[in-house]
């Protein structure tokens, strides 16, 4: 009997293995039933569009809600959303939106201008914890109300003239406003649902959960299995429902890029959120049609500590900038098709591309000269300086490449400080660094999305940069109606920024996905936004 024990154990284990035949994959079934399987990586904290902390989950929100405008899936220009048309006053300060008569919430209530006014009031309430409040500051009176200096909401430039007419009054022209009002921070929330769960401006009351959430997008929330998936189902009450072909979308919550890639290969996913760096070359060779690597509206950069030596000296900052060979830095991660940065704003916004006297370039001789002028000939006497970054293979790689470039071209050796994420962000706010890893992703397709970060006193202006000339140029650009003249003002503003270098742009990221050939109507674009209204699955 003892001799047969291994056999018995092996049989016991074999019973684990089911069917022993190739099963039908989720992708295969999905193609037949119009069920899209897309991974979105980390789980969202909440599905309340006004509580998002980053734009990473916009693709889920776009299924559940719709703003005044929507986006063309190819180039993202604003198209009618809940508003079917709009009028803009001659001075560019008053926008009147005319809402569709057939726009409905998922419970059947009509979507009205009052819903948008309510949502703006909620967003601007001083109690409401959102990092995106400043996106409403463009409205007249919004800043004072948001800071609690004024308590009368009627002073804010959002007015529901009637159920189907919404008027926005701006404090200065904003050529990107039509784009902005399609974004997640401007998506409306359903007042009765929000207030049934707590005060109108109380965060995290749980109203945005399955069975409770009332949205106005092409899909409704069907299930949220924590750590597994968020499932949305076609919303029959959506005004454009007859053109929506997808029946369901499963947003998977796989955080690990390797796990995700294996799931893709075994037919569990149509669209991945990442591509493991080690797999980029393989896919480029074996399945180039499934690999999407396209420019992303973002800039990878380092922040200087402007408050203390050595980087309080603009000559030192410039020397460090000139000593970087961006082309070879990008080439060292060649599979990612990174674009070396000449300035802060990524190219691609209506033809804007930064050029100028202070455009970033590689000039080691000039870099050494500047460093000598600043009192550190050949790096002699240069104080000890830390380059801090949060733990990640990419940040580590970039930091090591730059450390070598600076050592070779300037004779200066910076210390690398690889710091756990939360510690890093806490220290960054306290400015406990000489150089820190940073980055920016634009929320709307306009150079203003990048340049406005560095306005004096701005909420995300961690470096504390202040230059009245730069502020004037950026504000003047908003008032300019002619696009060529506006781009010229942006060019001058960016040139001033690159002269002062409060931040050191390195390259522009790319977005990287694996997309199954059966996915139709999904187009690579600069913000990686993919409206689902026109998406469908082929054979």
């Amino acid at each position: 009997m003892l001799n047969r024990l291994p056999l018995v154990s092996a049989l016991a284990l074999l019973t684990f293995i089911p069917g022993c035949s190739r099963h039908d994959s989720a992708v295969g079934i999905g193609n037949r039933t119009q069920v899209l399987h897309q991974n979105i990586g980390a789980e969202p904290q909440d599905l309340d569009p006004q509580l998002m902390q980053t734009n990473a989950h916009f693709n889920v929100l776009m299924a559940l809600y719709e703003g005044l405008t929507g986006y063309d899936p190819r180039d993202l220009h604003p198209v009618p959303g809940i508003a079917e048309r709009w009028d803009i006053s001659a001075d560019g300060l008053v926008y009147t939106f005319h809402l569709r008569a057939d726009a409905r919430w998922s419970n059947g209530d009509p979507v009205t201008a009052h819903d948008f006014a309510f949502s703006a009031r909620r967003m601007l309430s001083p109690n409401f914890p959102t990092p995106y409040k400043h996106y409403f500051d463009i409205l007249r009176g919004a800043e004072d109300y948001g800071a609690g200096r004024v308590t009368d909401f009627s002073t804010v430039g959002v007015h529901a003239l009637d159920a189907r007419t919404l008027r926005l009054e701006l404090r200065q022209p904003a050529p990107y406003l039509l784009f902005l009002v399609g974004g997640f921070m401007w998506m409306p929330v359903h007042r009765a649902t929000v207030e049934a769960h707590g005060a109108f401006d109380a965060p995290y009351t749980g109203w945005a959960s399955p069975g409770e959430l009332v949205g106005n997008g092409p899909f409704t929330l069907a299930a949220w299995r924590h750590g597994e998936e968020i499932v949305v189902r076609k919303n029959p009450r959506y005004w454009g429902a007859r053109n929506v072909r997808l029946q369901e979308i499963h947003f998977h919550l796989i955080e690990n890029a390797d796990t995700e890639e294996r799931a893709y290969r075994s037919g569990q996913l149509h669209v991945t959120e990442f591509v493991p760096a080690s797999k980029l070359a393989t896919y480029a060779e074996t399945a180039p049609g499934e690999l999407q690597v396209v420019p992303f509206f973002s800039t990878y950069l380092y922040e200087f500590n402007l408050a203390r030596p050595p980087f309080d000296d603009p000559r030192v900052r410039r020397a460090f900038a000139l000593a970087i060979d961006r082309a070879s830095l990008a080439a060292s991660q060649s599979q990612q098709h990174l674009l070396p940065a000449a300035g802060l704003v990524p190219p691609g916004t209506d033809g804007y591309r930064f050029t100028g006297e202070h455009a970033l370039r590689f000039d080691p001789a000039a870099a050494r000269r500047l460093l000598a002028e600043a009192g550190y000939p050949d790096g002699r006497g240069f104080p000890s300086a830390n380059l801090s970054y949060d733990v990640s293979a990419r940040h580590q790689h970039v930091a090591e490449v730059l450390q070598q470039m600076w050592e070779k071209n300037l004779g200066v050796r910076v210390n690398l400080a690889n710091i756990e994420g939360r510690v890093f962000h806490a220290e960054r706010v306290q400015r406990k660094y000489a150089l820190a890893r940073g980055g920016w992703v634009g929320d709307y397709l306009d150079p203003h999305a990048f340049l406005s970060v560095h306005l004096t006193g701005g909420g995300q202006n961690v470096a504390g940069y202040a230059n009245p000339e730069f502020d004037r140029l950026v504000r003047a650009a908003l008032d300019e109606r002619d696009q060529a003249a506006r781009h010229e003002l942006y060019r001058q503003a960016e040139d001033a920024l690159m002269r002062d270098l409060p931040v050191l742009p390195l390259y522009h990221y790319t977005s990287q996905h694996l997309v199954a050939p059966s996915v139709r109507g999904r187009y690579p674009n600069l913000l990686d936004y993919h409206p689902y209204q026109g998406m469908w699955l082929g054979p």
């Binding site: 009997m1 003892l2 569990q268």
Partner: protein
Amino acid sequence: MLRFIAHRLLQAVPVLFIIIAVSFFMLRLAPGGPFTAEKAIPPEILRNLEAHYGLDKPLHVQFFTYLGKVVLHGDLGPSFKYSNRTVNEIIADKLPVSLELGGLALLVALVLGLTFGILAALRRNTFLDYLYSTVGMLGICVPTFVFGPLLVLLFAIQLGWVNASGWYTWQDRVLPALTLGFVFSAYIMRLTRAGMLEVLHQDYIRTARAKGASEVRIVLRHALRGGLLPVVAFLGPGTADLLTGSFVIETIFQVPGLGREFVNSAFNRDYTLVLGTVILFAVLIVACNLVVDLVQVWLNPKLKFE
């Protein structure tokens, strides 16, 4: 025996208190907080949030408030990351998954480990012994993040029998349980082999043989009881470890268990979730050790409840 159990339970109280206190203060002394993020939140909103969660009070007040809620109501507080869920809800949601995975893995580990451990001991220094021992050593040496993806490559991607990841159908349980169980089976196999070898040389086994007892009877009735002692000692903390989830296995196979929550909660500075999982793990380990001690006394006539 009841006195022994009562005594051990009393001992557990200060142990748990110290674990909670040390974790609480270590966590709070770590830089960064639950609301630290790449995009800075305006200071006045940060203050509102901190007041909402009581983080603005002195640390010792927060500690005793927390301790009071845990002890009196079993209330582990709201999670900071998953803002509209409580830690109790998260544990109730995820612990069953970890228990299921851990239980299956334990089954795999015991079936494989005991069988091959006993066989290796009985066929000492033969080809079979070397084979089992080599595989066992491999099981200990090859990390799960290598073994798991290899299984996925074969069974999910090449053969297409199961999914590469997820936790939806019973088929999804197979690969994670095998991966996690295999590693543990290797330890159990080596401990069983060593334990059995020691016992098989004892006088009472020779006596049993002399009496003409069958080999099966000798092994299962007489030798196994003593031979399992090292395995049982290992199973105490081992079981607690298996049942509370594995960060690596849960990440490789996208299993929505507690292990991933535990590790991520530390990165997220989700104070209440970290403490909640720490308390749960501590209680499980204390409980498993107690059970192991009871089993050991039962198995080993030389031990008494003292």
